[in-house]
């Protein structure tokens, strides 16, 4: 049993190589329950690879990943989703030819207990759970301001809405930890501000633990309580936003040379 103050998600020195390239080296991270953290780094630093390792898309060559005490490596992505780790994708991966509502309801399925036979025979449990899924999906869509568009194809949504739908969909799996891969990418400043509010809100309302990758530094620095910086697959810095912004190694990673830039990391 894990002590109550132990980190919810504990990653200890995971590594993975593709061919000769060591994409992620000795990556470690601990997310406390209810924390809101950021993962940043230059393009190609291995941030998305870390997400893929955590969610079982790739298996780490070495290292351990524990979610609430349970070891994740070796599990398939859907089992990890069951364990309570949900994600969004950098290059949006919605179900394009399904309705917005169905996109979210699909993610509700993993908590369903009725059987396929029950579904075919329209058993009472099936109907009850279907109703529950509908209620839950619409609730989530409401939070993300998408309930009015629930009958539209996901593919027809504007870009910002698609990003938010991805988060809503991930939320529908009832996760303990949610990984957001560049949630603000392609959003205008207004939308980005609203998104920050939404992330804070779901964190509180659903007592979620959030880890996000983002290039919009204003967004990350404003939102996250702690930040991990990745460069060439390695953690080069870890700490609260203020410290990260002044870390010379971080500045070097972003600008390519030692430099003291007033205001720290450029947005």
């Amino acid at each position: 049993m894990t002590p109550p103050d132990a980190p919810l998600l504990e990653v200890a020195s995971i590594s993975i190589s593709f061919g000769g390239l060591r994409a992620v080296r000795e990556f470690s991270l601990a997310l406390g329950r209810g924390s809101l953290s950021g993962l940043i780094g230059p393009n190609g630093a291995g941030k998305t690879t870390v997400f893929n390792l955590l969610t079982g898309v790739y298996q780490p060559d070495a290292g351990t990943i524990r979610l609430a005490g349970r070891s994740l490596p070796g599990l398939r992505p859907h089992e990890i989703a069951h364990a309570g780790l949900a994600r969004t994708f950098q290059n949006i991966r919605l179900f394009p030819d399904l309705s917005v509502l169905d996109n979210v309801r699909i993610a509700c399925h993993l908590r369903a207990r009725h059987t396929l036979a029950g579904a075919l025979l329209r058993s009472p449990l099936h109907l009850l759970e279907e109703r529950g899924m509908l209620r839950r999906a619409r609730e989530l869509l409401g939070i993300f301001g998408l309930d009015d568009r629930r009958d539209e194809y996901a593919r027809n949504l504007p870009y910002g809405d698609q990003r938010r739908l991805e988060i809503a969909r991930a939320m529908a799996t009832e996760p303990k930890v949610i990984l957001l891969d560049e949630p603000a990418a392609g959003m205008n400043p207004q939308e980005t501000r609203e998104l920050a509010g939404l992330v804070r809100r779901i964190r509180t309302d659903f007592s979620l633990t959030v880890l996000l990758i983002e290039h919009d530094m204003g967004f990350v620095m404003d939102l996250c309580e702690s930040i991990t910086v990745l460069d060439y697959g390695q953690v080069i810095a870890h700490g609260p936003p203020a410290a990260i912004q002044r870390d010379p190694k971080v500045i070097e990673a972003y600008l390519g040379a030692p430099a003291a830039v007033e205001g720290g990391v450029p947005a």
Partner: protein, 312 residues
């Protein structure tokens, strides 16, 4: 002992002769797949078409009577005409049926290929073309054994057939790996959009691929009809199987891989004939498909293909 050796060499010769024809047909499948990423189901109909064109030509030149002796160049002439005609048909099929679907879902292209296959089959059966009744291909080569190896006859047909196939493959190999056009083909196969950015005329390359693949298919059809005299409609099991096995050869060799298709074709030919000779004739088709499934399960990209990893 001698009988055993004879069986062995007979099987080997037949396997190589037919395998080299599978390889010719497999090349067409593999080249199209390499570039357009779809299974050209109409390819086997081009093979049959090649055989038909060769037959019509042979008949109109007067070689169809049993005792008519054909001069040595007759076969070569027929081969070239059949290849040219099928190359033109391949070009037309690509232009009219497949080109409008560039970028469409793969399944649609596949259905179109099935449509083209049906079209070619049924058009060929029309009475003013080839008709619906089976025909006998005149044997253009004297049926003399060239030499015997441990009692196994090596016939002229086998040698000419396999030799032509090998020559064509060597030519293709040169074309693809040693000419500018070949480099363009490889570039388009590797990454179509980048190739087009680099100034490669993608449409021309695709058309050319179809022309080459169809010409090779015609050659295979002609040579196959020389070995197994008799042409039947495409629905006839032997021809359908020729197409299917060639396709299996392409997959086993790693679809999209030129050399893989050649090796795969010969492998399939040998497997089929050795299986038939030493295990059971009845299951000769089963060996081929069992190999296909085993290869796909354990080396999904084929024996010589490179695996692709989906980016998430």
């Amino acid at each position: 002992m001698n009988a055993a050796l004879q069986t062995f060499f007979e099987t080997l010769i037949n396997g190589l002769a037919v395998g080299s024809l599978y390889a010719l047909v497999a090349l067409g499948y593999t080249m199209v797949y390499g570039i357009l990423k779809f299974i050209n189901f109409a390819h086997s109909d081009i093979v049959v078409l090649g055989a038909w064109i060769a037959f019509v030509l042979a008949r109109s030149l007067g070689y169809a009577t049993p005792d008519a002796a054909a001069p040595w160049y007759a076969g070569l002439l027929i081969l070239l005409v059949a290849m040219t005609a099928c190359g033109a048909i391949g070009y037309a099929v690509e232009r009219l049926a497949y080109k409008p679907l560039r970028g469409a879902p793969r399944l649609n292209v596949l259905i179109t290929a099935i449509g083209v296959s049906l079209f070619l089959q049924n058009t060929g059966q029309l009475s003013f073309l080839f008709g619906a009744s089976p025909q006998r291909m005149p044997s253009l080569l004297p049926d003399t054994p060239l030499l015997t190896v441990f009692g196994a006859r090596v016939s002229l047909v086998d040698v000419v057939g396999a030799g032509t196939a090998v020559l064509l493959m060597v030519g293709l190999e040169y074309l693809i790996f040693h000419t500018k056009l070949g480099r363009a083909m490889r570039a388009v196969s590797y990454n179509t959009s980048v190739a087009s950015l680099m100034g490669v005329n993608v449409n021309a390359v695709i058309s050319f691929t179809f022309v080459v693949g169809s010409a090779l298919a015609a050659a295979a059809g002609f040579l196959y009809s020389m070995k197994y005299v008799g042409i039947k409609q495409p629905a006839d099991a032997g021809w359908v199987m020729l197409g299917l096995k060639a396709f299996v050869a392409a997959v086993v060799g790693g679809i999209g891989n030129i050399r893989g298709a050649m090796i795969g074709g010969v492998m399939i030919g040998l497997l089929e004939f050795f299986g038939a000779a030493y295990v059971s004739t009845q299951y000769r088709d089963v060996y081929v498909f069992a190999l296909l499934i085993l290869v796909l399960l354990f080396r999904p990209a084929g024996l010589f293909g490179r695996a692709t990893v989906e980016k998430v």
